[in-house]
């Protein structure tokens, strides 16, 4: 579909939120929670956080929550009956105010979840989600989207993108059929757009390295002492993976109560020592430097190779969340600079 440019006035945004809520859609937007900014349900535009770079946690939870039921089962005299969780039970979400890196990242997870198996749960949830991103007018020292194939006004993965103008109104790009469908609930709110130079409103995120260079280099440094040097201070928690918008690893667990049970999947991380532990006691990734290497290799070597996307969008969340200041951008620069 050709992009349609519209103008969404500040007051119209509130009306749009009311309209969508009345239609039974749940609206997730960045809200202030203590010292953090996180996605939360809103019913009014005043609840939205105004001044933020990115939310602390990513938007991936909308389609890949921290835990979700795969199916439930019951043991009866006749045998085991099973009930799948399904499409009809998933709520319809509208995400309002995700950053372009976040919108882009859902595609990277999608590439994993559609590789050797089509993950119905993920895509069903995504199908019921409409992504309205807002372009970035600011960035911080952790942002490096321009080094990871994105940019502050990238529309990849968005259904609609809003760019805030100096008047407080929004320049709205309607990018997909899904986006168009959303505007159709209240077409009069989307007015004819003036001619806008979008780039004027975007943050300048300095390019630290070229993504192709990183992808090419990372393959050549598998046996290099830099992994050890970089990961000495890594304590092996999963904070980086769990705030990451593209990390897709999960564990599967059964929980039972009497004769009833549910099978859940929940987030897991290659940084945790038990991730690769075998039943025999052997662990192919025995030390943290190997686990750190895996994290970077997966994002910059294996995913480009297998899924033709990078597993990093340069949002910098992992570096901000890391309790011991592992800085992915710094470490990627180190890798690119290896002679």
């Amino acid at each position: 579909m050709d992009t349609e440019n519209k103008l969404l006035k500040k007051a119209s945004l509130q009306k749009l939120i009311e309209k969508l809520n009345a239609d039974g859609k749940k609206i997730l937007a960045p809200v202030i929670k203590g010292k953090r900014v996180e996605f939360g349900l809103i019913t009014s535009s005043d609840q939205m956080a105004d001044d933020y770079i990115v939310t602390n946690q990513s938007v991936k939870s909308v389609a890949f929550p921290k835990f979700e039921k795969l199916f439930s089962y019951e043991v009866t005299k006749e045998g085991i009956t099973q009930a799948d969780t399904g499409y009809s039970t998933f709520p319809e979400f509208v995400i309002l105010g995700a950053r372009p890196c976040d919108a882009n990242a859902l595609g990277s997870i999608g590439a994993i979840f559609n590789w050797d198996y089509h993950d119905k749960l993920y895509f069903d949830r995504l199908e019921k989600t409409t992504m309205i991103s807002t372009s970035c007018s600011k960035c911080d020292d952790y942002c490096f989207c321009t080094s990871a194939g994105g940019h502050p006004g990238s529309t990849k993965g968005s259904d609609i993108q809003l760019t805030r103008l100096e008047t407080g109104d929004y320049f709205a790009e309607i990018l997909t059929e899904k986006g168009k469908k959303l505007t159709s609930v209240s077409p009069d709110l989307f007015e004819t757009a003036p001619s806008v130079d979008k780039s004027k409103y975007l943050a300048e995120v300095p390019v630290k390295f070229k993504v192709d260079e990183a992808v090419a280099k990372v393959k050549t440094v598998f046996e290099n002492e830099l992994w050890l040097d970089q990961s000495l201070r890594c304590i092996g928690c999963g904070a980086c993976a769990f705030v990451c918008p593209t990390c897709a690893c999960f564990d599967i667990q059964d929980e039972t109560k009497g004769k009833n049970g549910i099978r859940l999947r929940c987030w897991d991380s290659c940084g945790l020592s038990l991730f690769t532990l075998h039943t025999s006691g052997h662990n192919p990734r025995e030390v943290q430097s190997q686990r750190w290497r895996q994290r970077i290799m997966h994002k910059f070597a294996y995913m480009p190779e297998r899924q033709n996307v990078t597993g990093c969008v340069g949002c910098g969340r992992c570096s901000r969340a890391c309790p011991v200041d592992m800085n992915i951008m710094e470490h990627l620069i180190n890798i690119v600079e290896v002679k």
Binding site: F39, G40, L41, T55, N56, S72, K257
Partner: protein, 66 residues
Amino acid sequence: MVFRHLLGFSGVDLRRITFSWVSAAEGAKWADIVNSTSETIKKLGPYDSYHAVAGLKEKEAEYVGN
């Protein structure tokens, strides 16, 4: 004692928890403690605030934000 205190601090209802020391020779004491504990708990009724998080149904909770 420390664990009991920690549970209380975490908001667990301590009226529902009994710690005791009963020797194998103290059958009557054992019966007393079990009876009085179950009586107290019966009077308190179901522990709704705990069941509200520990049931299977609750583990299917819908995502409402981070």
